[in-house]
Symmetry: C2
Subunit: 478 residues, 2 copies
């Protein structure tokens, strides 16, 4: 026990030394005035002990729940968002309608292995898949990756077959320097385009192993990007990771494996949703503003706690905490809750269209769409003149465990990347998204997965940086 | 990095020292002859590199899957077990029929919160629950524990209500010296008796939070012990942990929470199953034998990989490995695969009844019914004379990380406890059951949860101890 205690204390010492070696954190007060820096520190520390972000995501997941764009839950969340902004003391609250060209009914999804061994299979329709029009029975043909499926020449070699892409995010071995997100991106290829690729080779349907890191018997939904003109519309579904393993174990025995699947999904007509916007109006008026984004829609299997309830809650909370300060910040802060991110960035695209002429009024933007985990790295995407200032601002969030990256290539994440690519300066707050990758897009994305302490750290990071940005009268484009 | 490396090496050193301090492991060869000890070591090491137990559980979960007693899966597993015993080279294989006084159809289970906030709720019928006979709508009344429900006086105060026992295994704070299993046992009170207790207070139905340590959106099934004479038969179901949290969050707002549930479960007539027995016949004949137990049935939501596929596989594998040695052991080893453990120990009770007259021929027994984790502690339940011998045998499994306990109060676990209480000497192999508590009784109990290295360690422990026991010509009752 003594040796263990010694070892533990050495580990602790090493951690502390590691922190110290991260560089000088003393703020240069010729860039950030001492009074402002002090106010930012007090705001940051208050955010760490205020449970407001957790309360908001609890409210959203309990009182609204699933909210895919175009559904009843979507209509509920629009009303909820407006009421919540009012309750939190925002100065202006409004909605901007967003057209949705096509609705979708998920329906039921059932499947079973008919032979060689009867088993029920857990699967779910991928977003905007057509149904199977009754039972669809076919032999499985396994492809270890999307590339393997693509390598099959176009034609009818898969006629009557069900293509099965068994790629697992966990099997991915990234090359040096490649982010683990690449493993997820690899998986989304078959999820987003597999139904078109398989149809071009004659397949009757496609099933993929769920794109997630967990081992739970849930299928992960996703996609929603639709069919290609002139290509047969075949049903597309994801099977749970354990069911994918089961199917692979049957297939490796060498004989034919026959699956029966039944999806009652249905693509329906146009409908409407809305972006919801809340503003803490700056003391210099409303004509220039910083924007905090999140998407208000969710997939329909869980209650969207991590994806993207955590984003909605942390952005609302960060702005509300700034709004609770003694005076309004110099610049306005707008929280933009976007419609239809999951099914193809409907909300942000409509927003960009509508706001093309005032995009220059967007001084700086950022979005949370990676769950409720803590931020580990901050990357800016600002002009050369602004960079040293933002670097100085970042010192005030370093005590939250946030490392500054000088890459300065941020374009905003998720929805915000649309505005970032259109020229808006952006900050990317890179989060620990391990839990997110396990739970999002599944029935398991529920409130109990929120870690309150992490949500407070997340909120504190945004509140601090955006308060500073709102007070510093600089043009982040320069 | 240097400090970290030093700390890491100290931790390693501490671990090694810890092992050394576990006591002298040199075997006394006046008790266990050197030749026998050597053979046991070679068997143990072979078991650690042989994948046979993993292959068996893969075969069971892939080729059979769910196998609740009285279902089609049960009929399939009886055939599978006989074929597998033959394939593994057992000398004798037979079945002993077991009567089941009542069958049960699980049917579908759906539920939703009707107000104040509409939500779908994931739940599952507890074993042998009656159905709801259409939609059952009632207001939820929460009880934090089974004791709280019991404290309500009998009568009609819960009339028209749905009793909701929200006790969580994770909330349990054991007193010093109390095993964590106590948290699970506390949960099984409401699961096993809640429907009777709630009915005596007028409730229309009972739902409980699932009894498990995970946070997945699955309901855990279980129970099956039936209704009490003269008490109204009300439906009983378990809701998933995330849904329980959601319901509690609604309830804490203070207003009424109304739930609608629909179970199509149905209790049906008598049917039959079987215990399946395989024997490695000893070179001194078949009239005295050691018994390795597991239950062949499973709940019907997963494929029963951990509960109790891991038991079936490790017991079959341990005996098969002994059967592959140069000569048969002195005493026979029988693997007993029991029917209907989950629904009330049907198989072992029938076995005891049938074998009352030859219970004295059972020299020693043990059962795996805690998943595929490694054994950490070995406890005997043998006569005074045998204790020093078993303690010496245990030295030969100590290198597997198994600590010997001198308590000598083992009565056999799960089914084997029935024979243990009837006087059969027993060994209890205490396993790491963390994964088991997360996955068992849910759709998540699937093959991918098996950790091959752990299964090999588990198998090696049983093979080594039972080989030694079969060779040592002693009466463990003495």
């Amino acid at each position: 026990m003594t040796l263990l205690a010694v070892a533990a204390s050495l580990l602790l010492a090493a951690t502390v030394l590691g922190e110290e070696s991260a560089g000088d954190r003393k703020v240069d007060h010729s860039i950030i005035p001492a009074e402002l820096a002090n106010a930012a520190v007090l705001l940051r520390e208050r955010a760490l002990i205020d449970n407001i972000s957790v309360d908001i995501v609890e409210s959203l997941t309990t009182e609204v729940g699933p909210r895919r764009m175009g559904t009843e839950g979507d209509r509920r969340v629009i009303a909820w968002s407006q009421a919540k902004f009012e309750e939190l003391g925002f100065d202006r609250v409004w909605i901007e309608e967003v057209d949705l060209d096509r609705g979708w009914v998920r329906g039921d999804a059932t499947a079973e292995i008919v032979s060689p061994y009867p088993h029920d299979i857990v699967l779910t329709a991928l977003g905007y898949s057509v149904g199977t029009d009754g039972d669809l029975v076919g032999e499985l043909v396994e492809f270890k990756s999307f590339a393997e499926l693509e390598a099959v020449p176009e034609g009818d070699s898969l006629e009557g077959k069900i293509a099965f892409v068994s790629y697992s995010v966990n099997d991915f071995v990234p090359e040096a320097g490649v982010s683990r997100m690449a493993a997820y991106s690899e998986g989304t290829k078959a999820r987003g385009r597999g139904h078109v690729t398989a149809a071009k080779r004659g397949a009757a349907a496609i099933v993929i192993r769920s794109v997630g890191t967990d081992n739970n018997r849930y299928a992960h939904t996703g996609s929603g990007y639709g069919y290609a003109e002139g290509v047969r519309r075949i049903p597309a579904a994801a099977v749970s990771p354990p069911d994918a393993v089961l199917m692979q174990n049957m297939l490796k025995r060498g004989g034919p494996v026959t699956m029966k699947m039944n999806l009652t999904s249905e693509i329906t007509g146009p409908t409407q949703g809305a972006n919801i916007i809340g503003e803490i109006t700056g003391r210099q008026g409303s004509d220039h503003y910083l924007v905090l984004g999140a998407h208000v829609d969710s997939w329909d299997e869980g209650t969207g706690a991590l994806d993207d309830g955590a984003g909605v809650a942390s952005m609302m909370a960060a702005a509300a905490l700034i709004g609770q300060m003694e005076q309004r910040p110099r610049r306005s802060i707008r929280v933009l809750l976007f419609a239809g991110e999951e099914i193809g960035f409907y909300g942000v695209n409509a927003y960009k269209e509508k706001h093309l002429d005032d995009l220059h009024e967007h001084l700086l933007g950022a979005e949370v769409d990676s769950g409720g985990g803590r931020v580990h790295t901050l990357i800016s995407g600002v002009g050369e003149e602004s960079l040293p200032i933002v670097r100085e601002m970042a010192k005030l969030v370093a005590p939250l465990g946030i490392v500054w990256s000088d890459a300065n290539d941020a374009r905003g994440s998720s929805d915000m990347s649309v505005l970032g690519r259109a020229g808006m300066p952006a900050l990317n707050f890179m989060q620990n998204s391990n839990d997110y990758m396990k739970y999002h897009h599944t029935p398991n994305d529920t409130f109990d997965k929120i870690i309150p302490e992490d949500m407070r750290y997340l909120t504190a990071a945004y509140a601090t940086m955006f308060y500073l940005a709102a007070e510093m009268d600089i043009d982040f484009r320069k």
